[in-house]
């Protein structure tokens, strides 16, 4: 029945793998703060956070196993956020 919950069972092992990667990424993101990256500091931190959140969305939040609709919607929400930030900064950047 398509109306019942998806019975896709993710093995414990895959969750543990993702968790390990997330923790390593956290440690890396702390580690790189000791390296002088100049203007790239903010960029690196946001990039690592984005990678981590993508992993959480895809694996922990099951987007990989869900229907396509949710995948498109989540992508669209982040694009929307990006556009709103961009337009707001059209004011602050050029004031």
């Amino acid at each position: 029945m398509s109306h019942q919950s998806d019975n896709h069972t993710v093995p414990y092992k895959s969750y543990l793998w993702i968790l390990a990667i997330l923790i390593v990424l956290t440690i890396i993101s702390v580690g790189v703060t000791y390296i002088e990256l100049g203007n790239l500091t903010v960029f690196t931190a946001i990039l690592l956070a984005s990678v981590k959140s993508t992993l959480v969305l895809i694996y922990f939040m099951h987007l990989k196993f869900d229907n396509k609709l949710l995948q498109y919607l989540v992508a669209a929400i982040f694009i929307l956020l990006g556009l709103v930030l961009f337009i707001t900064f059209l004011d602050y950047n050029y004031r």
Partner: protein, 537 residues
């Protein structure tokens, strides 16, 4: 009625008695009617406040109230009309009542959450209005709660702001409910492009409710933070930027205008083909323009802030985007007019409302172009011109569509007909009153009369008198309409299933519908506006 097999949803006996059978009902139709009664009550409150404001402006100087009272009254008028009437308006009343029936479902996806949203709405309204009765008096900031005045004023800001915050939840839950309902519960055979246009606009509205309301939620929480904790987010004395408040506020409040107008456009798109007895022109164009308005409407908020001191780049961008968002609205108007072309039109009250909607919406839209252009905006900003513009859109557009919708679906909701002649008379008086009330404001604004002032110089006297008289005519029209509808709800002639010859699914069920709407879920095979054959064939 003799051909009924089921009791109607109003007669169906539940296990609860009296008023509890209504206020604890999870039936989408009963919830829609609960919303209708609460919204009409708040609307009448707002109308009384509006008439008081016009009365004050009858003559220069103090007429009936002092400036502080005037400030409180225009704030309350705005808060009540925006947050309690127009934002929930069409989606909560007609969306709740009709969305499941129009897509061939028995209820919305989450009936309990639906009831919860009504309760949250009532709770939010009580909190917001409690400011009236507390020491300090109602807020005097205008419905926009602009910083930094919003956390400097000594009036009762907190209840109003928290009330608006709570009302946001109600709006979000309704939006979630409608989107899930449309995704999951369309009748077999009803593909996306076989869905009627009113549900389509509710779909667009639902997305704006979900994606824009949280932003105003957090902004209002920040105002609470400012007042209670003195954090300094928007206080220049502590390093904050008041213009950032305006950005955040309008990121919601501009899309909110589309929460209001999209379902109104949906209702008009239902009324026009029915009374033109003709398939709607450019169905797909209307659908796509609905989605385009919802999307582009999210990025035009800055046109409320042209004089705030934004950067030039931002000004040009927002002005350009504002012109772009006008295009899909215009597409809709062309489609409606083309539908009427060479049609044999039934001249009934709902059609009069729809036709006058086109008229006032066009005036509102064109004056919006004047305001969206940077140079004219500088001259017209914060004048009565703006007030006239948005009343033409929000009261003229949304209000007329609401009136049209209630006259159109009245037989379905109450199972009775109203007096057609009285309905037409009421419409005519209301329409004349509306134009007399708001058209002079364009001229006043153009000659420089600022908005939100309780006083004016002698040269503005004439148009203001005309405008105030207009408010009385409008009130008279409103009384006739209400009298007709209230009387007809119990005493009118019994209505048939399909008194207007509509083609959408709600006209295939009983008037009023039974508790579960359909005995059997229909299978949809043709487009919603197929006027070649009779609906029963």
């Amino acid at each position: 009625m003799s051909d009924r097999t089921n009791l109607s949803f109003r007669e169906e006996k539940g296990n609860r008695k009296g008023i509890f059978a209504w206020i604890l009902s999870t039936d989408h139709k009963r919830i829609g009617i609960l919303y209708l009664y609460s919204i009409v009550a708040f609307f009448l409150t707002g109308v009384v406040l509006g008439i008081l404001m016009k009365l004050e402006l009858l003559a220069p100087g103090k007429t009936v109230m002092d400036p502080a009272t005037y400030n409180a009254i225009f704030t309350l008028h705005g808060v009540i009309m925006i947050f309690l009437v127009v934002v929930p308006g069409l989606p909560a009343v007609f969306g709740n009542f009709l969305l499941p029936i129009m897509i061939g479902a028995k209820d919305v996806a989450f009936p309990k959450i639906n009831l919860l949203s009504w309760w949250i709405y009532v709770f939010g309204a009580i909190i917001a209005l409690s400011s009236l009765f507390m020491a300090g008096g109602p807020p005097d900031t205008g419905w926009t709660f602009y910083a930094p005045y919003a956390f400097k004023t000594n009036t009762n800001m907190l209840p109003a702001v928290l009330g608006a915050f709570i009302l946001g939840f109600s709006s979000i839950l309704t939006g979630i409910n409608f989107i899930v309902t449309i995704h999951r519960m369309r009748a077999p055979g009803m593909t996306w492009f076989k869905m009627p246009l009113f549900p389509w606009t509710l779909y667009g509205t639902g997305w704006i409710q979900i994606l824009a309301t949280p932003i105003v939620g957090i902004t209002l929480l920040m105002i609470v933070g400012e007042r209670v904790l003195n954090i300094g987010f928007f206080d220049p004395a502590l390093g904050g930027d008041p213009i950032l408040y305006q950005h955040l506020f309008w990121i919601y409040s501009h899309p909110a205008v589309y929460i209001m107008i999209l379902p109104a456009m949906g209702a008009i798109s239902e009324i026009i083909p029915t009374f033109a007895n003709k398939s709607i022109f450019g169905y797909k164009a209307i659908v796509l323009s609905t989605l385009a308005i919802a999307f582009v409407g999210y990025f035009v908020w800055g046109h409320h802030m042209f004089t705030s001191g934004m950067s030039g780049t931002a000004l040009y961008t927002f002005s350009l985007l504002t012109f772009i968002v006008a295009i899909p609205s215009a597409i809709k108007v062309f489609n409606w007019v083309s539908t009427l072309h060479k049609a044999s039109i039934q001249l009934e009250a709902p059609f009069f409302w729809a036709a006058s909607f086109l008229f006032v919406f066009m005036i509102g839209g064109l004056s919006g172009i004047a305001l969206g252009a940077l140079t004219t905006n500088i001259h017209l900003h914060d004048t009565a011109f703006v007030v006239a513009h948005f009343h033409f859109i929000v009261f003229g557009g949304v209000g007329f569509a609401f009136m049209g919708a209630i006259h159109y679906w009245f037989p379905k909701i109450w199972g009775r007909m109203y007096n057609a002649r009285l309905a037409t008379t009421g419409w005519m008086i209301f329409f004349i009153g509306f134009c007399t009330l708001y058209l002079p404001m364009f001229f006043l604004g153009f000659s420089g009369m600022p908005r939100r002032y309780y006083d004016y110089v002698e040269e503005f006297h004439g148009p203001n008198v005309v405008s105030t008289i207009g408010s009385w005519v409008l009130a008279l029209g409103l009384i006739i309409i209400l009298y007709n509808l209230i009387r007809s709800a119990t005493k009118g002639e019994v209505a048939t299933k399909n008194p207007w010859g509509g083609r959408t699914l709600e006209w295939t069920v009983d008037s009023p519908p039974s508790l579960e709407n359909f005995d059997e879920i229909p299978v949809v095979t043709r487009s919603p506006y197929d006027y070649r054959k009779n609906i029963d064939e």
